[in-house]
């Protein structure tokens, strides 16, 4: 069977689901965090690109749930379960959470780290182990996940490509 592979794209403050042989990608993660949750035997994965740690910070009443770590992960879990993943088999890989500019004093400075902390906290609530991560630093990342192999490919401008 010759299936055509396609790349599912995830924008900023967005969530999507992929099954093999397709792969899933999000580009230009800075302080944002890309979260992959996958069921390897089922060859199904979800990818979220979140911007902010906590939906309680929202100043809007009707906000985009994919923008925040907590609500985006909740939402992605629902979608994954609809796609037949098994809770016990789920694993996660995360990347991003960089600090792009060295601001002197501001809440925004550590937003990358706060995003990562919020993601880890939410994942532990679902008892999903984080098997690999590439977070922090000061560079942008583009990530590709292949649900067939469970490999997360990370590309940066200065350090090229790495697989975790």
């Amino acid at each position: 069977m010759n299936e055509i592979k396609s790349i599912v794209k995830v924008g900023i403050a967005d969530v999507n689901i992929v099954t093999a042989p397709n792969t899933i990608r999000t580009t230009g993660l800075g302080s944002c965090v890309g979260i992959v949750i996958y069921d390897l035997p089922k060859k199904t994965a979800g990818l979220a690109h979140i911007m902010l740690p906590d939906s309680n910070l929202a100043k809007q009443t009707n906000f985009n749930a994919f923008k925040y770590a907590d609500t985006a992960i909740d939402n992605m879990m629902e979608k994954l379960l609809e796609n037949g993943v098994r809770k016990f088999a789920l694993k996660a890989k995360i990347a991003g959470g960089a600090q792009m500019f060295q601001f002197s004093s501001n809440d925004t400075i550590r937003i990358g780290r706060r995003n990562v902390e919020a993601v880890l906290k939410r994942l532990s609530k679902y008892h999903i182990p984080v098997v690999a991560s590439d977070v922090g630093g000061n560079c942008g990342r583009t990530i590709d996940f292949d649900p067939d192999t469970g490999e997360l490919k990370i590309r940066t401008v200065s350090k090229g490509e790495a697989i975790i």
């Binding site: 900023i12 230009g28 800075g30 302080s31 500019f101 583009t142 401008v157």
Partner: protein, 212 residues
């Protein structure tokens, strides 16, 4: 406030702000490099975050960015964006040294070139914002220049974070300036992202009522 319901007058006012700011910056740039500088009519866009990245060539495209935080009565951010080639021609021109590159051959940053770029950015953003500040009579101070060369998505999301608590759209006042003598290839792009709380102040300062 609802970003999607700006009146024509309000949009015109924002465009005029871009015009005045960039006009002043273009004059500074022209003096600095001793060349004629053209500027384009500013574009005011109310767009989703993803579209912001598309505006400058997609989230993965490499940009040279000098970012300034605006403090004072109308907080926000100003980006001065170049491609690597544009930034290098600017550095070469300013330092009168055609050998200056942004990076050394071993891939490390050329601090001298970056410092020259930051200072240029300082002058340009300073004249952009002082023109705005005079025009609106609002107090606006710029931070020190923050420099980065990286993916557009990673760089621009920094500015979007500030507003993303309040909205899913950004209002971007986008102005391009370029060397009239195109072979030098010095183009720059100003992106002005006023904070969500700044619009009302700007409009009020200009005597535009919200419901006009």
């Amino acid at each position: 406030m609802n970003y999607n319901h700006l009146s024509t007058i309000q949009l015109d006012a924002l465009r005029e702000i871009g015009n005045i700011g960039a006009g002043n910056a273009a004059t500074s740039m022209s003096k600095l490099i001793n060349e004629k500088i053209d500027m384009q009519v500013p574009n005011v866009s109310i767009i989703e975050f993803d579209e912001v990245m598309d505006m400058i060539g997609g989230a993965e495209s490499l940009v040279v960015a000098i970012l300034f935080q605006i403090q004072g009565e109308a907080p926000g951010m100003v980006y001065l964006l170049f491609t690597v080639d544009e930034a290098e021609s600017l550095v070469k021109h300013i330092t009168s040294n055609s050998k200056q590159r942004l990076f050394h051959e071993d891939g490390t940053c050329n601090d001298f070139a970056i410092s020259a770029l930051k200072e240029t950015g300082n002058i340009l953003a300073g004249s952009y914002l002082s023109a705005l500040s005079d025009f609106t009579n609002l107090n606006m101070n710029t931070s020190i220049p923050h420099f980065s060369v990286d993916m557009a998505g990673a760089i621009l999301s920094v500015g979007l974070l500030e507003i993303s608590h309040a909205t899913d759209y950004a209002i971007i006042i986008d102005t391009k300036i370029n060397d009239a003598n195109l072979k030098n290839g010095i183009n720059g792009q100003f992106l002005f992202l006023p904070g969500p709380e700044s619009f009302e102040k700007i409009f009020r300062a200009l005597g535009i009522n919200e419901n006009e």
